[in-house]
């Protein structure tokens, strides 16, 4: 068993009792010992909190939706709280009815962050061998959609302008679009290329800033 397997087990079934194989690995791995200790400390603090009302169902819905959106979990959306997936049930059972919704939310965000940081790329391989969409690709897809819509609006506004500044904006926007396409092609071929991902992120950031500058200029000139 390896670190990622331990994380998977914890994600699926909660902290205790860990399967024998996982315990054996944790006993020899300082990395996983720290991971388990961190989670145990959070659970312990949560259990010491006074009893509160059950978090409303919408909290579970929004949490699960957010975790799904970030690609951290991949179960089908639940129809009601009572129909939570076993994986989700495992986590919620850690706290029982005593946990505060806020503490639960905090724990899950921390745990999700830890898991995601420790295995940023494994999440794209489904247990059945299929390829899921990477969390970062989901983020970029949303960003790309918004920026592309803005780009169309800007192009429509500036269609008739031939000023040197507008030409410069258009040429540089084209350069950014070309570079984004290059990085995306690279990431499709090599999804684990961290440098390509980093440059793609920069490119989207620059595109957003450029579109903002173009809109500002439209506002100030016309």
């Amino acid at each position: 068993m390896q670190c990622k397997d331990v994380e998977f087990v914890v994600e699926q079934e909660g902290l205790a009792p860990l399967p024998e194989a996982a315990q054996a690995h944790v006993a020899t791995c300082s990395h996983c010992q720290g991971f388990v200790a961190d989670l145990a400390a959070i659970v312990s603090v949560a259990n010491e909190l006074p009893a509160e009302v059950e978090p409303p169902a919408r909290v579970w819905f929004s949490l699960q939706a957010q975790l799904k959106l970030e690609g951290i979990i991949k179960t089908p959306a639940v129809a009601a709280r009572g129909a939570r997936s076993p994986r989700w049930q495992g986590f919620s059972d850690l706290f029982g009815s005593r946990a505060l919704a806020a503490a639960t939310v905090g724990l899950l965000i921390v745990a999700a962050g830890v898991v995601q940081l420790r295995r940023p790329y494994e999440a794209n391989v489904e247990p059945n061998g299929g390829i899921a969409v990477l969390p970062s690709q989901i983020t970029f897809a949303k960003t790309a959609k918004v920026l592309n819509e803005q780009e169309i609006d800007i192009n429509n506004m500036q269609l008739a302008s031939t000023s040197p500044v507008d030409n410069s904006f258009r040429q540089n926007l084209q350069q950014i679009d070309d570079f984004i396409a290059v990085c995306e092609r690279r990431l499709r071929a090599a999804p684990q290329d961290e440098l390509a991902r980093e440059y793609l992120s920069y490119a989207y950031q620059q595109k957003a800033e450029l579109l903002s500058a173009m809109m500002d200029r439209e506002g100030s000139i016309h």
Binding site: P164, R186, E194, H222
Partner: protein, 312 residues
């Protein structure tokens, strides 16, 4: 608060003439030619061109804000006086200047009054003389931004104009769309971002440098300050670093699909700090240490070339 006056002649502080002569002596002939050309242009432009000069008394460390939406250059130099001198030149009356003082803040804005004006009618240049310790926020579209011998934090933004800095210090932020940066003998911290503009950092005394461009080239030619942090990244361009034999820095250079041109292999040793660097299988690059590895240098290019060499 300021005393404004209008005149039709070029105005430049007398104190600066010796320094100007010293700086431009090698190119005096070309300067003279340019002056003749400009004068003929001014004559042709007719009576619409004009100069505005204003003086503002300030206390210590004023803040000067310039927003030039017209085409033209912004020059900022310093003097010992506790006064900000603003000279604005415009090619036509289709541009208006708003110049105001609020305490130690001086705001200068060039506005386009006629959106149907031709580009040649929208030329407006600004020459400022400020106290040595002054904070600057300058924004222009196509003209050169030139700042010399000013100490203070500054944010300089340009779309297509170049940014030239000489002997400035402070926290320097430069943003351009396609304008390039030339930073000579700068000190403090430098943060440059551009889409297609390049950056040249020459003989710096900068302790923190962050340069990023999508398609421009980057050149760093100078010493790395011990404990300094230097990050230089270009998406498609060349990233070149020329260091000296006395430098001391840890180096990390990587590219996704570009090339690494390491001409300093003789000076680079394996990392001496016991940190195990693992290169990604998707990138090419190298890690190494020059001297004791006191500064930290990170270079990357997605598809361009990274070149590192020792200066002669």
């Amino acid at each position: 608060m300021g005393t404004g006056k209008m005149n039709m002649t070029a105005s430049w502080p007398l104190w600066s003439l010796p320094a100007l002569r010293r700086d431009v002596k090698p190119g005096v002939l070309s300067l003279f030619g340019a002056a003749v050309f400009l004068c003929s242009g001014l004559t042709a432009a007719g009576a619409a061109s004009q100069h505005i000069e204003k003086h503002f008394a300030v206390h210590t460390r004023p803040v000067v804000v310039i927003h030039n939406v017209a085409n033209g250059r912004i020059e900022v130099k310093s003097w010992k006086n506790a006064e900000v001198d603003v000279v604005a030149s415009q090619a036509s009356d289709k541009i208006g200047f708003d110049i105001e003082q609020a305490g130690d803040r001086i705001d200068v804005t060039a506005n386009v009054l006629d959106t149907a004006a031709q580009p040649s009618e929208l030329e407006a240049s600004l020459q400022l003389t400020v106290p040595e310790e002054t904070e600057l926020q300058l924004k222009t579209e196509t003209g050169l931004i030139y700042v010399e011998q000013v100490m203070g934090d500054m944010t300089l933004e340009s779309v297509a104009g170049e940014v030239h800095l000489k002997e400035v210090s402070g926290y320097i932020i430069v943003r351009t769309t396609e304008g390039s940066l030339v930073c000579t003998q700068c000190a403090g911290k430098l943060d440059f971002k551009s889409i297609s503009g390049g950056a040249q950092v020459l003989q710096p005394a900068l302790t923190n440098v962050s340069l990023f461009t999508t398609s421009g080239n980057i050149l760093f030619d100078g010493d790395f300050v011990r404990t300094g942090l230097y990050t230089m990244k270009s998406g498609k361009g060349l990233v070149e670093v020329r260091f000296s034999g006395n430098d001391s820095f840890d180096l990390k250079a990587q590219t996704a699909v570009g090339t690494v041109d390491n001409r300093a292999a003789a000076y680079l040793k394996p990392d001496s700090h016991g940190v195990k660097h693992l290169a990604s299988k998707f990138t090419k690059g190298f890690f190494g240490t020059v001297g004791q590895g006191l500064a930290k240098v990170e270079l990357s290019s997605y598809s361009g070339t990274i070149r590192i060499l020792k200066r002669d």
